[in-house]
Amino acid sequence: MTIAHDFAYLHPVTMPDALAMLSGHEGAMLLAGGTDLVPWLRDDAITPEVVIDIKDVPGLTGIEIDGGTLRIGALTTFSDLIASTAAHRAVPMLVEAAHTVASVGVRNRATLVGNVCSAVPSCDAGPALLAYEAVMDVIGPAGVRSIPILDWFLGPRRQALGKGEIVTSVSIPILERHGACYVKLSRYRGEDLAQVGVAVVALPGRQYRVAYGAVGPVPFRAPAIEAYLAGKDLDAETLAGLPTLIGAAISPIDDVRASKEYRTHMSRVMLERGLAAAAARLEGGGPPYGESVI
């Protein structure tokens, strides 16, 4: 099926040109990996008059550690992330999440930043970046600014990027010592979107960060669950208190991929397993990153 809606294709090779094109064309869409954009164009879900391909804009590539921060350029694909030793070292759970995104042929093209810019509720990068407290580095007509990922997701397919703005990179504060786990439920490995996604970070002192995807209109952190778990052993008594808190935090829907009841049930199972794996990894044990715990 051909894309029915005609549009102009612009291909800036400098950032000032890219910003001018974006500001000059109302409703223009940015194109990086295109793995969301192209199907949306084909479905007429979006009908921009202008598509701006930013793949040759300089300054948007690379994965670097700068002091205590890992900076991931906006054009970094999931395959780039998986191949990066710096990413494995600094954010192993983000790499674990990257491994669950579709399959190689999509990961070779799809970008981490594109994944959160598309802001689909089931995006795998969302919970992982929320748990790592990433910051989106943005450039726009008014200059540069930073948007914490905690303020990023506004609704299904809606994020905090302002008019005329482009994400240049994601910056992640490197945790000195942590264990973490991304747990994804999907119908099969390869291509499927998450039915539930859970990201857990375990920090010394029995502190935990918990983020969910695909069980609400946006990926979100669960502060009530985190506060409840703080300082506690992950024993049967502690875990018994989770279902009520999970029920209050999530708002899953029934759809073609899973029922509300199944998502609710698995939200508990996956959190328990994610917590156990993250806590074990913090102590240098547990399943290796990338090994599914469900």
Binding site: Y9, G34, D53, V104, R109
Partner: protein, 158 residues
């Protein structure tokens, strides 16, 4: 508005006029005339349009033709310069496919894996082809052939 793009397809230079709304898959099949990338789901799910793009597998249905300006595409037609590759020979011998619709994509995904990982585990093969849907075989006959090709190595078969 038409754009004139220059791209290499299977080692041959092409200069083609494309409109932005044409996918790379459409450009390859209809303008270049290579038919191994198949039109399946056209939303990135099935993997039947898999091509090598600057040496890496991508879905041709998820790229615009106009993006390929200055890039290099290799399709199934372009990987076996001297007949079939070892991988393909093993797939033929071991009856890896039935209808064959998914075969070009599967071959390219496995080919990419063997380039990076000459001695993969069964799990690595499964992950590499997990984005290529096959409705005939149940995949075992494909995985077996990839492992056998890896065991023999690329030079053992002329």
């Amino acid at each position: 508005m038409k754009h004139t793009i220059e791209m290499k397809v299977n080692g041959e230079a092409w200069v083609i006029d494309v409109s932005p709304a044409e996918s790379l898959l459409e450009v390859l099949r209809e303008k270049v005339g290579v038919k191994s990338p198949k039109i399946g789901c056209e939303r990135g799910d099935c993997g039947s349009c898999t091509i090598l793009y600057d040496g890496k597998t991508i879905r041709a249905c998820l790229a615009l033709g106009v993006e390929a300006d200055g890039h290099e595409v290799t399709t199934l037609e372009g990987i076996g310069h001297d007949g079939l590759t070892t991988l393909q020979e093993k797939m033929v011998e071991m009856s890896s496919f039935q209808c064959g619709f998914c075969a070009p994509g599967v071959v390219l995904s496995a080919h990419e894996l063997l380039q990076h990982e000459p001695h993969p585990t069964a799990g690595q093969v499964q992950e590499a082809i997990s984005g290529n849907l096959c409705r005939c075989t149940g995949y075992d006959s494909i995985v077996d052939a990839v492992l056998e090709a890896a065991r023999i190595g690329p030079r053992a078969v002329s």
